[in-house]
């Protein structure tokens, strides 16, 4: 074991506190302290400081916060306090969000006809269409799929024509914001399907495309209780 002097000890003090020194170096440090009250005091004060810092308390998160926060990020709820700051947010902030409500029918209920709603997008402009899935009961394991027509893109998913999510639905409203951009002026159709326990529901959304400046994005909220 090599002898350590005061200067060397001070130079290695932080590595010692961070547990980065070898056993031999720690021993050399302790050995030096036996004969050097000043370094002994320094080491003691450093230990106490680090211990106090590492045990500085943090109040616990609210129970369930982590799970709720993740869910809110995925299925952004209407009651989110701050609104959205990127991607989805720009359209929402501009008041361009279009709302379409879908009811998800549980297997025990009677089959009902599939619904069709319409929205109007402005060519090359991003708009958020909020699909609101209403479920009468919680659903744990649902697969939600969006199939896009050739002229419409889901922002953030360039070139993707079909996107699926595995998710759960809470009782009541579940909002899926879809930031859409029309890259072609033809009218087309978007398909949203939701599937759980062998029960599948398909929803058709007619997309009309207008030239910018000619038509505002004033399509009314469409409520399609199917």
């Amino acid at each position: 074991m090599s002898d350590m002097n005061c200067e060397q000890l001070q130079a290695q003090l932080d590595d010692y506190s961070d547990g980065l020194l070898s056993g031999a170096d720690v021993q050399a440090m302790q050995q030096h302290c036996l004969g050097c009250p000043r370094c002994c005091e320094l080491l003691k004060r450093q230990d106490e400081l680090i211990q106090s810092l590492r045990t500085m308390p943090v109040p616990p998160m609210r129970p369930g916060f982590a799970q709720q926060a993740l869910k809110r990020a995925v299925v952004q709820k209407q009651h989110h306090r701050r609104g959205f700051t990127t991607g989805f947010s720009s359209a929402l902030a501009a008041g361009l969000a279009l709302w379409v409500v879908v009811t998800f029918i549980m297997p025990s209920e009677q089959a009902q006809p599939e619904g069709v709603a319409q929205v109007q997008l402005a060519l090359y402009q991003e708009s958020t269409v909020n699909l609101v899935f209403y479920s009468p009961t919680p659903v744990d394991d649902a697969t939600l799929s969006i199939t896009l027509p050739d002229n419409v893109e889901l922002v953030g998913f360039p070139g993707e024509r079909k996107i699926s999510w595995q998710t759960s639905l809470t009782e009541g409203q579940n909002v899926l914001p879809l930031p859409l951009r029309a890259n072609g002026s033809v009218n087309s159709q978007l398909l949203a399907s939701i599937e759980s326990g062998g029960n599948r529901k398909v929803f058709h959304l007619q997309i009309g495309v207008s030239l910018p400046g000619r038509t505002g994005l004033l399509a009314p909220a469409l409520k399609n209780m199917v």
């Binding site: 109040p59 953030g156 998913f157 699926s164 999510w165 595995q166």
Partner: protein, 194 residues
Amino acid sequence: MKISLFSKSQGKGASFEALLAPHIEPLYRLAFRLCGSQHEAEDLVQDLLVKLYVKHKELGQIENLRPWLARSLRNHFIDTLRQQQRSPIDYGIDHDHEQLLSSQVSHDSDPFCHLAMTQLQTRILTAMESLNEDQKILILMHDLESYTLAEIAEILQTPIGTLKSRLHRSRARLREILEVGTISDDLTCLESEG
């Protein structure tokens, strides 16, 4: 393409929720250290998650999410401060921290020892106010939240050598300030406990 939001798989291709769930508490803790308020810390984390979800395809490709997320959180915190026109950056260590310290329930066998530690931590918070912002964030991340210097180098985009010397100066400064109040007197009870 299928995005599995709630699958249990990890790593590349894992779902948004599976990837981020282990990081929520560390993010919340860091957020609390930054803003000093439980409520604001939760808001910061929530807002960050909403931002991240837009990029969830990229997240699975990131080799080490912990420093990447911490960097995102800090950037988001600074953006939020700028939007609120709060300047200079206030890491909030004097907000709820002191209240929290005073309301701590003792789990120590020796209540005097608990009291001494609480008093010392209160003094450390005060002492940290004398550090500059670079020093503060380094102590918060490294000594309070146990981010390694290599991680902090990535988070703050600062060379590790710079961080080492900064850490050395910051700890020396804190020791110096606390020495006036004889730090060792506060914690003699800890020594007797071994």
